[in-house]
């Protein structure tokens, strides 16, 4: 049985799409003979042609923009940033105290700023020092976000 035939004896949408695109060679004589003698399939062929024309017109209207590669995440840049971040953690681990709390403190700027902020709130550290640390962390996050966004646009 030809792969372009359905169980009910009519032809598939793929066969009709090919015929609507004047690619008769793709479907074979058996399919062509069936469609020419089947009012149901002829009607579906008309719909397939309408759909093809619609999609063709829609895609052609945006052709140059669509023929470019779809936007992708800048995986190389992200990998590089991760490696750099991991390297920074390794360096900071040199000063870590032998405790879980010390490990958390050393893991990143953001996680370090949180306990520091808590200590600041409890009066252990100065308010100015806490503010500066948190501001630096936020600045780093904003810079990273801007950088990734710019690279994503460039890749797209």
């Amino acid at each position: 049985m030809n792969a372009f035939f359905l169980d009910d004896g009519h032809v598939t949408d793929a066969a009709l799409a090919a015929m609507a695109d004047a690619a008769d060679a793709a479907v074979g004589d058996e399919v062509l003979a069936h469609v020419d003698g089947c009012e149901t399939c002829l009607g579906r062929l008309g719909q397939a042609a309408e759909r093809s024309a619609f999609v063709g017109a829609t895609l052609a209207a945006h052709g140059p923009a669509l023929s470019q590669e779809a936007p992708r995440l800048p995986w190389r840049w992200l990998l590089g940033a991760t490696v750099a971040g991991a390297f920074g953690v390794v360096l900071s681990l040199q000063d870590v105290e032998r405790s879980t709390f010390g490990l958390v403190q050393s893991s990143s700027v953001l996680t370090r700023s949180l306990p520091l902020a808590l200590r600041g709130a409890s009066g252990e550290a100065g308010a100015l020092w806490t503010t500066i640390t948190v501001a630096c962390a936020l600045l780093m996050l904003a810079t990273s976000a801007w950088f990734v966004r710019r690279k994503t646009r460039a890749a797209g």
Binding site: L45, A57, A70
Partner: protein, 212 residues
Amino acid sequence: MFAALMSTFRSSPDVALPAAASAVASTSNEAAFALRAELAAFEAPARRAIACILHIPERSPDVDDCVQETLRRAVEHRAEARASGATGQAREPHALRGWVLGIARHVALDEIRARKRSRARTEPLDGEETRHDVPAAGPSPETQVAKRRELLQVSMALAGMPERQREALLLFHVEGVEYAEIGRRLGVPLGTVATWIARGRAHLVEKLSEDR
């Protein structure tokens, strides 16, 4: 000769076949008679097929035009084949029927494409007003916004389909590459190309109609 043939077709659809045959009969009355007899039997099935494809009644002017065009092409091909004395042109009635219906099918599909092109040229985009009195310096802001929005919708719909399917669809519709060449480039059989393009189209139409 075929310009005269076409003008005869247009003036009276009902006499299309005899007129076509008589034009060809300038070379041989006997051949023209045979041609007329051969093709007359296929006018009704061709008309039915065209009406089915276009989803309009059999006795409508558009179907008349397509039937005339079908017969014109059939007569032209047969006359050329006979004039060139090409071998293998004699067809069994069953094969001849399929051949004429194939021409009718292509004529009807051409008509659908022509209608779409014509509509695309005349219809404004959503939100765009048609002004004939003031010459436009460029697309209006509304038009630009509508176009940007459609581009975003199309891009998102394309991003949601498998990569090879998207590639096949864009190769066919944007770059105008034929099925056979797409199959060669992507290293898949023609049937797979047809399946990818059909699925891609269905996905795109579904997503665009969801957003509208």
